[in-house]
């Protein structure tokens, strides 16, 4: 893929997925997915329930191993056998199911797997201070870094998971339905955050069923259908109706009346 591109664009490419397949026994979750992500780009990934979006992102985060196909990060072919491999390539993710530990406190969850150490011991004081700073910076509404995750509300848990992913300072940030449990103000702040990190050159992949959000932050949309990537379009070429048509695979009645104000507010 990269060979076809002009050299100046090639340096821009953060992630290229080509022909990714994944089966769970007889269930073919992914049947050949292509996807690209550039530096500083916000890519919307959409598709029906069960289209394979989360599975694809788990592959990219090393949490699931694909069967066939190629992953390139910064143009270099990689194979992630563990989530740690993907983290080493600076890929950060907020999982749809969040992946937190209920009986550990907020700070421990933020730093799970990379706890600050003093000698052989966890430096709890530093961990809680850094955690408090991260939470304050991102305006996460929790009362204490010592609070157990299991005692937080669904929205609070979601914002902690987002803070965790962002605090890795990733090059690629994957957000799998990050706003599903959030109130209006929190959704706004997540959308603002996406804009901010993208402006710093991070590539963001956003999965959401809130289509209006896609039009606010995305540059491009990739559509998945039954385990395949079926469309890829710049947001400027789309409106909500066209996008719905792409997701549901119902051919749009060709009523692109010139009277209608074409949707893109991007």
């Amino acid at each position: 893929m990269a060979e076809d591109l002009p050299v100046d664009q090639r340096g821009d490419l953060l992630v290229e997925l080509a022909g990714i397949t994944k089966s769970y026994g007889p269930v073919k979750s992914l049947r050949g997915v292509d996807l690209t992500l550039r530096r500083g780009e916000v890519l919307g990934l959409v598709g029906d329930n069960g289209a394979g979006k989360s599975t694809l992102m788990k592959v990219l985060a090393g949490a699931v191993q694909h069967d066939d196909g190629e992953i390139r990060v910064h143009g270099k072919p990689v194979r992630f056998s563990t989530p740690a491999d993907a983290q080493a390539e600076k890929i950060g993710i907020v999982y749809q199911d969040l992946a937190l530990c209920d009986t550990l406190d907020v700070a421990s969850n933020l730093f799970l797997g990379r706890e600050p150490k003093r000698g052989p011991f966890i430096d709890r004081k530093a961990m809680h201070e850094q955690a408090a700073r991260i939470l304050a910076d991102l305006h996460v509404k929790v009362t204490s870094t010592h609070q157990e995750i299991g005692t937080l509300s669904g929205g609070q848990r979601q914002t902690v998971a987002i803070a965790r992913a962002v605090s890795f300072a990733p090059d690629v940030l994957i957000l799998d339905e990050p706003t599903a449990a959030l109130a209006v103000a929190e959704v706004e702040s997540v959308l603002r955050l996406i804009g901010e990190v993208a402006a710093q050159g991070v590539g963001v992949i956003l999965i959401t069923h809130r289509l209006q959000d896609l039009f606010r932050v995305c540059d491009r949309i990739t559509v998945m259908y039954e385990g395949q990537s079926v469309d890829d379009a710049a947001i400027a070429d789309l409106d909500i109706e066209k996008l719905v048509g792409l997701i549901t695979r119902t051919p749009q009645p060709t009523r692109t009346q010139p009277t209608r104000t074409e949707g893109s507010r991007a």
Binding site: A63, P83, A99, L104, F121, H128, Q130, A132, V142
Partner: protein
């Protein structure tokens, strides 16, 4: 969102300090452990009043020696149960190591070699449990139920059921009778194991991951932690502890028997769960295990002093275990309730 580079930043803002402020001691303590500490005190006072021989230094020292093996294995078992696993094979490993160590001494091995071999045998069985559990995905309950049978069976097969005496001239035998400041070597080693357990569980990444795995293994795996290795290490640790306990028991008794430590696993699990470690995983307390081990052995010791039939001890242990598990599983709601009460006030 420049969030990760912190060392050179100015003093944290007040809101940051408030977020990171440590909670009060009461909020941090495991309520189930506090309850058990109270129960232990009551039982202690009861026996002290009921029998004048109970509160003598000789008996307390004896009690400490009795608690030793339960505590040593209990500390390791705390890790296993906190990680959401169980180890039923520790009693058999104790018997195996006791019997085989005695045989090795009889065969003329030097005490120092036998001591190393005892630890390695325990660790080896623990790693067998850990490998099948973590890397082959067989539930620890099944794996350790199988090794419970196999390991004791091997020891019985090897010794033909006879108790193997240890010559009193060997260093191992001397270790069994040695005392320091009035307490046995077993008691001191148990104390050291408690300290190691405390540090390991609450101050290291290993302990953190053990707790996390008990709460949500998949989340810990996705955080980039080698969950299988940590799980295997926890079970390896309990095997190692059982090996140490087996050696100390053989040394104290002056003989190793494949029939020793019957039902030991139940006593240990009772002690751990009694202390407030959650059977569901994700919550563990070493201090609780210390209290639990003391409670089970105070009961056993006190009943012996009151010359209650020794055959009653397993009945009482089993009953206490069921009661405790019942309270432990209900205790979640109790703890939640207490939290609500304290927060409202």
């Amino acid at each position: 969102m420049s969030t990760t580079q912190t060392p050179t930043e100015p003093a944290p803002a007040p809101s940051v300090q408030r977020l990171a402020r440590q909670r009060s001691l009461w909020e941090r303590t495991n309520k189930a452990t506090v309850v058990m500490a109270g129960v232990t005190l009551v039982v202690f006072v009861f026996f002290a009043v009921a029998d004048s021989a109970f509160l003598t230094f000789a008996n307390l020292s004896n009690l400490a020696t009795q608690v030793g093996p339960v505590l040593i294995v209990g500390v390791a078992m705390t890790f296993v149960i906190t990680a959401g696993q169980i180890d039923l094979s520790v009693g058999s490993i104790v018997a195996f190591v006791a019997a085989i160590s005695a045989q090795l001494l009889v065969a003329g091995w030097d005490s120092s070699l036998v001591m190393v071999a005892a630890l390695l045998m325990g660790l080896g069985w623990g790693l067998v449990n850990g490998w099948f559990t973590a890397y082959q995905g067989i539930p620890a309950f099944i794996v350790t139920l199988a090794t419970l049978s196999v390991v004791r069976g091997l020891a019985l097969f090897q010794t033909e059921g006879f108790s193997v005496p240890i010559a009193s001239t060997t260093f191992v035998a001397k270790l069994g009778t040695a005392k320091w400041l009035g307490f046995s070597v077993t008691a001191w080693i148990a104390l050291a194991v408690v300290v190691v357990g405390l540090v390991l569980l609450h101050a290291t990444r290993f302990g953190q991951y053990v707790i996390g795995i008990g709460a949500a293994a998949e989340s810990v795996r996705r955080a980039g932690v080698n969950v299988k290795l940590v799980t295997m290490a926890a079970l390896g640790f309990s095997g190692l502890a059982a090996g140490l306990a087996g050696l100390l028991i053989a040394a104290r008794l002056g003989s190793g028997s494949a029939n020793s430590a019957q039902g030991f696993e139940l006593t240990v699990i009772a002690a751990v769960v009694l202390g407030g470690t959650s059977l569901l995983g994700g919550r563990g307390t070493i201090v609780g295990t210390l209290i639990g081990a003391l409670l089970t052995q105070i009961i056993a010791n006190g009943l012996t002093l009151l010359s209650v039939s020794p055959y009653l001890t397993p009945i009482i242990t089993g009953t206490v275990l069921v009661l405790v598990v019942w309270i432990n599983l209900r205790g979640r709601d109790l703890a939640w309730f207490v939290q609500r009460l304290t927060r409202r006030s």
